[in-house]
Structures are given as C-alpha cells and as structure tokens.
Amino acid sequence: MARSVEREKRSKHLTEEWVGRVYTLICVGLLVLTIFSMVYFVASKGLSTFFKDGVNPIDLFTGVKWAPEGEPPLFGALPFIVGSFSTSILAALIAAPLGFCAAVFIVELMPKFGRKVLQPVIELLAGIPSVVYGFVGLSVIVPFFRDIFPGQGLGLAAGGVVLSIMILPTITTIATDALAALPAGLKEGSYALGSTRWQTIYRIVLPTTLPALLTGIVLGIARAFGEALAVQMVIGNAPHIPTSLFESASTLTSAITLSMGNTIMGTAHNNALWTLALILLTMTFVFVFIVRWLERRSKV
C-alpha cells in the first residue's frame, strides 16, 4: 500500500519533470530556429547583391552615390553608413554625460527625489513611441535649428538630438544601477581620507563604474543605430555625405524604410536594401559583442 503511493508520487513527479523539460526545449528550439532563419534570410538576400547582381562590395562600402534605378545603377552605401554612425555617436555624446549626471543625482545627491520622481520620469521616456519623438523633433528641434543655423534644420544634428532623448533612459538606468551597486566601503574609504563628494565621484565612482557606464553607452548606440522612424522624420533623407551637421542626410534605416515600398522583390534595388539590412544586423552583433566584452571586464 505504502509502496504503491510512493510509486504513484514518483511517477507524477516524473511526468511533471518531462512536461517541463519538453516544453522548455520546444520554446528554445523555436527561438533558435527563428533567429537562424532570420539571419539566413537577411544574409542570403543581402549577399545576392554581390553574388547575383554582380555589385562589387568595395564599391558598395566606399561608393558615395546611391542611384539604384539609374543608368547604370549605382550602389554606393557610404552616405548611409556615415549617417547611421554619426547620428548614433552624436546621440551618445549628448546622452552619456546627461545620463551619468542624472544617475549621480539619483544615487548620490538626492536619492529620495531622484528615485521617486526623476527615475520614473526618465524611464517613461523609454515608453514613448518613436513616431512621437519624430513628430516633436520635426515641430520643435528642426525649426529651432533652422532659425539659428544655415540650412533647413533637417540633418544629422536634428537626428542626433532626437536619438539622444530616446537613448537617455537606457544610459541612465544602467548608470544608476552601476552607481547603486558600488560597495559603500569604497566611498567611505575615500571620504575618510578627506575627499569631497565630487572628488570621490571623479576619482573613485567614475573609474570604478566605467565599464558598466560604457555598456550603457554601447547599448544606447545600438538602439540609436537601429531606430528608423524618428530619424527618418528629421534627417532630410538626402543620399549624400553631408558637409555640415545641419545639412540633409540619410541613414541605413531611413534608406530602407523610404524605399522598400517602391521596389520589387528580387530586383537589384530590393536586394541592395537587404544588403543595408545585413549591415545593420551585423553591426548589432558587433554591439552585442562589445557589451559582452565590457561586462566581462567589469567583473574583474
């Protein structure tokens, strides 16, 4: 009697164990399958520009003229690559100091107000749809730049500013976590030697949390790099390398969103857009890789 109860119990455990295991395996399998098929799809489409349409990769990466429907068609993607990198890096340059200062404020200076008001407000920024950012950028930032600087106001500067607001929550949240996780003993040790609060921030807090801060910045750049809609609304979308921050430009994402509706699957133009997508995807992998590397370093 007792033994049969035990056996029943054990078999129930076994079923639960197996259901859980099989379910998890299926989910993981699906996930891996999705990722691989996406990468495969983008890569096969993107690479056919080189293999099927005979475009020289060097021309694509260094060419400055993008005229896929021209005679002969030209596929110089450098303006987009330059545009993507410069808007994202500009965004990081603006957002990184702001995000770090916000984090210092939240953790060090006014924890009560910071945690209750400032942090939720900044995190709210992450939830605002990008079309709203684009719209605000177009109605506020672009006219503002148009008034002070020569040109139409559309361009890298407007794109960078809009993106910087969008990536501020990422950078701030990661910086806040890093500052909060700093062992209290380190700061006390510094104060006990007669250091002021700002000396402690510059000499102990900043260097110790640097890898984590960089992680936040790289994640921010990755997000900015992939953002399409908001950038497209304020950057002007001229496919050339601008000579000033206030001149109309283009990014990889804006080039794709603008033209994808007007091309036919399988044509050279369509494949060329896939190549741009492949560049975006590859860069994302590079960013993830950098973040991993930084995280490993921050543990030492």
Partner: protein, 251 residues
C-alpha cells in the same frame, strides 16, 4: 599623559533613536584607547563622530561637544575634509580602491594637492614601511590592490590612512575579518604606531583590548559605564556591569 580628544556630554540621535547618552571622556595622546562593549552599544557610532563620518547618515543629530586638540570639531568654522585628514580611519572590512597598490597609498596625498612624482614616491614608501607592508609589496607596487591577501589589504588601508599624515587613527574592528596571524601583525603594528599616533580602536575581542591598549572604555546601551587604564579595568573594575562583561557573564 596629554589629552588629545575631549568629549563632553555628547548625545547622538539617529532620528528618534537615542544612540549615545551623555558621553563624556578624554582620550590621551600617543596611546591606544580601546572601546569594548556588547553589540549595538554605540562603539562604532562614537568612533564615527570623531571624524564626522556620521554626517553622511541622514537624520543624525548631535548635542554636546568634541574637541580634538584645540578645535571644536562640530563648530561652524570646521572644514570636515581637513578634520578627516587629521583623523584617519580604518574599517572593519579592508576596502582598498580598485587601483594599484601605489595609487591606493598616493590617493590621499594627491587629493590634498601633492603631484610631484618624487614626493609621492617618498610618501608611498614611508607609509608602506610604517604599515609594515613595504618588504612584501615593494617589487610590485603597480599590481592591483585587490590581488593581495586580506591581511595585506588591511595593512594597505592603514598605510593609505597614514599617507595623509594624520594625528589620530580610528580602527573599527579592523582585525575582525582577518586570520589570527594577520591579526597579530596588525596588533604589533598598532603597538609601533602608538609612539607617533593617537589610536582609538573598537574591538569585540577582550583579549585584544587587554593585550594592546593602554586605556579601555566600556560601553553599554549608548552610555560609558567605565573608563580606566586597561590594566585596572580588567583586573579591578569598579562597576559591577563591567565585571560581568569582562568575565563573560553577558554580551
């Protein structure tokens, strides 16, 4: 012996909580004073008032006065950074900065404006020698301070504190995270340092207090119960509660 620190009618409140009650005592110069007492009786709290580390805890309120030398350290014209330079502190957990051994010791002098390399070199060597660590680390000053043992780290923290040339060294259970051999080293070090510095140490270890200190202060529930030469306090305490504590009957 000359009195260096003079505490008069000190009351300290953490918000509503009355942590130190009418504490009065004087701490002699160039000697070791030990604070003993059961957990939570306010030893660390009193120690931290001496370099005003409690200032950073919100809701802390203080009444009464503390003089170090001839400054009232809670006076309105006192510069906290200068005070902390004069009154150094070593913590329970070794807390070296994640920098090189050299940069740890040079941290304080650099803060206070010394930038010339040869001056820093000299201070680093002198401080590490004073902390009895020089021979062990002189060949790898550029190594990370986190790579040396806990006992070495604690002596590094002592060297770091000595590098800004303090008068007083506060040690809050500085050996409680260490093995017996490292503990012994730090006790010997304290004995050497007391010729040049005034040392105040909190300890849970009554043998340590008896071995190392010249004066001992016994605390209970935020009050000073007894304060005397170490030998007298341990051999012939006047208060019954002191006797109960040192004979291990409570706490």
């Amino acid at each position: 012996m000359q009195v260096l620190i003079d505490i008069k009618n000190l009351d300290l409140y953490y918000g509503e909580f009355h942590a130190l009650k009418k504490v009065s005592m004087s701490i002699p110069e160039k000697a070791i004073t030990a604070f003993i007492g059961p957990s939570g009786c306010g030893k660390s709290t009193l120690l931290r008032t001496l370099n005003r580390m409690n200032d950073m805890i919100p809701g802390t309120r203080i009444e009464g006065s503390i003089r170090v030398g001839d400054t009232d350290i809670y006076g309105s014209d006192v510069d906290v950074e200068t005070l902390r330079k004069k009154v150094g502190m070593v913590f329970q957990q070794p807390n070296p900065f994640p920098k090189s051994i050299y940069d740890n010791v040079a941290y304080g002098p650099r803060l206070h404006g010394i930038t010339k390399k040869h001056e820093l070199d000299e201070i680093v060597e002198k401080s590490l020698r004073s902390a009895a660590l020089w021979d062990e680390v002189k060949d790898h000053l550029k190594r990370s301070a986190l790579s040396i043992s806990g006992g070495q780290q604690q002596r590094l923290c002592i060297a770091r504190a000595l590098a800004v040339n303090p008068d007083v060294l506060l040690m809050d259970e500085a050996t409680s995270a260490l093995d017996p051999i490292s503990t012994l080293k730090i006790e010997e070090l304290a004995q050497e340092l007391k010729d040049r510095y005034t040392i105040v140490m909190v300890t849970h270890n009554m043998h340590q207090a008896a071995r190392v200190s010249n004066q001992t202060v016994f605390f209970l529930n935020g009050e000073v119960i007894e304060y005397a030469d170490t030998e007298k306090l341990f051999s012939n305490p006047t208060d019954q509660r002191t006797e109960d504590y040192i004979s291990g009957r409570f706490g």
